[in-house]
C-alpha cells in the first residue's frame, strides 16, 4: 500500500515537472509569436513546434512507463468549494485561478468530453463496428490512393513552379555526403594514405613505406634490449617483413640480432 503511494507521488512529481517544461516552452512560443512576428522565420517556428512535440512525447513516455500507476484508478473529489479567494491556490497557479468555486471546478476536474461530443463519438463508433471488415478495407485503400494522388500532384506542381529555386536553399543535407562520411568512418574510404584520394597520390604513397620502416627499426631496437626473447624474433621479423615494402634490408638486421642474442646474458 505504501509502495503504491510512493510510486504515485514520484510519478506525479515527474508529470508535474514535464508539464511545467511544456508550459514554459508554450509561453516562450506565444511570446515569440506576439512580439516578434515581423522578424519571425519559418525555421524558428518549426524549432518551437519540434520542441513542443519532443516534450509531448517525453510526457507520453512518462505516462506509459511501467512504474507509473494507472491514473484511471485514481479519483479526485473536491472536498470544499468556497466562493472566497484562496491564497494558496493563487500562489500555485501563478494567479490564474483565484477561487476554487462551483464555476471553476467543472472545467478543471473534467474527465469526460461534452455531452454533444460524446454523442457524436458514440455514433461514429457504432457506425464503424457496423460495417464489415472487407468494406472497411476497401475504404482504407481508397483513402490511401487519394492521399498518394494528392501528394503526387503537389510534388509535380512544386517541381514545375518557380519556387523550385527556393527549394534548393532549403536542402539541409546531401545524401552523397552522408554516404561519403559514413564510408570514411566505417573503413577509412578517402582517408587512408595507401588508398589516396584523387589528388596528391604519389606523395602520400611514399610516406607509409617510411613509417613502416621506422616501426620496424624501433622493433629491432627493443629486440636487442631484451636479449632473452630469441623465440619471438622470427615472429616479429615475419610481421615486419610483411609490413615494410623493402624486405631486403630488414632480414639481415634480424640475423645479426640472433647472433648477439645467442651469447648467454649471464656470461661475464
Amino acid at each position: 500500500m505504501q509502495r503504491e503511494e510512493k510510486q504515485l507521488e514520484l510519478s506525479l512529481e515527474a508529470l508535474i515537472s514535464q508539464v511545467a517544461d511544456l508550459k514554459n516552452s508554450l509561453v516562450s512560443f506565444i511570446y515569440k509569436l506576439e512580439n516578434e512576428y515581423d522578424r519571425l522565420t519559418w525555421p524558428s517556428v518549426l524549432d518551437s513546434f519540434a520542441l513542443l512535440s519532443g516534450q509531448l512525447s517525453t510526457l507520453n513516455k512518462v505516462l506509459k512507463h511501467e512504474k507509473t500507476p494507472l491514473m484511471r484508478n485514481q479519483v479526485i473529489i473536491p472536498l470544499v468549494l468556497s466562493p472566497d479567494r484562496d491564497e494558496e491556490i493563487m500562489r500555485q497557479t501563478e494567479g490564474r485561478v483565484p477561487v476554487f468555486s462551483h464555476e471553476v471546478v467543472p472545467d478543471h476536474l473534467r474527465t469526460k468530453p461534452d455531452p454533444e461530443v460524446e454523442e457524436q463519438e458514440k455514433q461514429l463508433i457504432t457506425d464503424a463496428t457496423r460495417i464489415s471488415s472487407d468494406v472497411a478495407q476497401k475504404q482504407i485503400q481508397s483513402l490511401n490512393k487519394l492521399c498518394s494522388n494528392l501528394l503526387e500532384k503537389i510534388s509535380k506542381e512544386e517541381r514545375e513552379s518557380e519556387s523550385g529555386g527556393l527549394r534548393q536553399n532549403k536542402q539541409t543535407f546531401n545524401p552523397a555526403d552522408t554516404n561519403a562520411l559514413v564510408a570514411a568512418v566505417a573503413f577509412g574510404k578517402g582517408l587512408s594514405n595507401r588508398r589516396p584520394p584523387g589528388s596528391g597520390g604519389p606523395v602520400q604513397a611514399s610516406q607509409p613505406g617510411a613509417g613502416a620502416i621506422i616501426a620496424g627499426a624501433s622493433g629491432i631496437q627493443q629486440v636487442q634490449m631484451s636479449g632473452a626473447s630469441s623465440q619471438q624474433q622470427p615472429m616479429l621479423g615475419g610481421v615486419q617483413m610483411s609490413q615494410a615494402g623493402q624486405p631486403g634490408k630488414i632480414p639481415s638486421g634480424i640475423k645479426t640480432n640472433i647472433k648477439s642474442a645467442s651469447m648467454h646474458p649471464y656470461q661475464r
Binding site: 516552452s25 525555421p43 524549432d47 519540434a50 520542441l51 512535440s53 519532443g54 512525447s57 536542402q171 539541409t172 543535407f173 546531401n174 545524401p175 555526403d177 552522408t178 554516404n179 561519403a180 562520411l181 559514413v182 564510408a183 570514411a184 568512418v185 566505417a186 573503413f187 577509412g188 574510404k189 578517402g190 582517408l191 587512408s192 594514405n193 595507401r194 584520394p197 596528391g200 610516406q207 607509409p208 613509417g211 613502416a212 616501426a215 622493433g219 627493443q222 634490449m225 631484451s226 636479449g227 632473452a228 626473447s229 623465440q231 619471438q232 615472429m235 610481421v239 610483411s242 609490413q243 646474458p265 649471464y266
Partner: protein
Amino acid sequence: ARSDEGVGRRPRRRKRGCAGGARTGAGGALEQPVKRGAPAAPPYREAKTMEAPPVTMMPVTGGTINMMEYLLQGSVLDQSLESLLHRLRGLCDNMEPETFLDHEMVFLLKGQQASPFVLRARRSMDKTGTPWHLRYLGQPEMGDKNRHALVRNCVDIATSENLTDFLVEMGFRMDHEFVTKGHVFRKGIMKIVVYKIFRILVPGNTDSIEPLSLSYLVELSIVAPAGQDVVSDDMRNFAEQLKPLVHLEKIDPKRLM
C-alpha cells in the same frame, strides 16, 4: 628472483646495513645497474608468455556483459549546422554544450583469416589528462527489418597513453587516421554527436588537416546490453523530431564499399 641475483654480486660493494633495503627494492634505484636476463623494457615486463595471439572471429566481450551499440547516421550541410544545433539544444538534456576535438587512429591486425581485426584508438586533443579510448566494433547484425537501427557488438576500454606503442608491439598496424571536431549532446541514454571529419595530410601531424567534405556527420547512438531492441524505437522517435533538417537512418557500411 631479485634477491637471488643480488646476493651473488653485491656483498663486496655494499655496506651490510643497506642489503635489506636493496632486497626490498622499494626504496629507490639500486646502486649499480644489474645485468639481468629478464628484460627491462616496459612492454615485456607484464607479459608472462609471448605467443602469437589467435585472431578470433567470435564476438568479443568486455567482461561478462555483451554490450551492443545501436546506431543511426545522417549528415547536415555546413550552412544548416546552426539550426540543427539550436534544435538539438532544445530537444536534448539541459547541459552545457560540449565540443570536442579528437584524433582517431584505426589499427588492423591481419591474421590467418581473410578479414582483419579492427581496433580504434581515440585520444582527445583539446582536453588534457583524459585517458585514451580503445574501441572494438563488431560486424553489424543484419536481417531484422523491425529493428530500426544498426546494431553491432561494442567493447569500450579506457587506456593509458602508450596505447599505440602497445598495439604496434602486438602486431597491429595503423590503417588510417583522422581528426574529428564537433559537438556532443545527450538525451537520457541516447548520445547525439555532430562532427566534421578532417583528413590528416601528413601522417602523424595533426596540425595539417583538411575537411573531408562540406557536411557534418550526425550520429545517434545508444550503448546497451544485448537484447534490448526497444531502444531502437526510442531512437526512431527521436530521429523523427529532427526531420526535415537531418534524415537519420540505418546505413549499412558494406553497401558503400
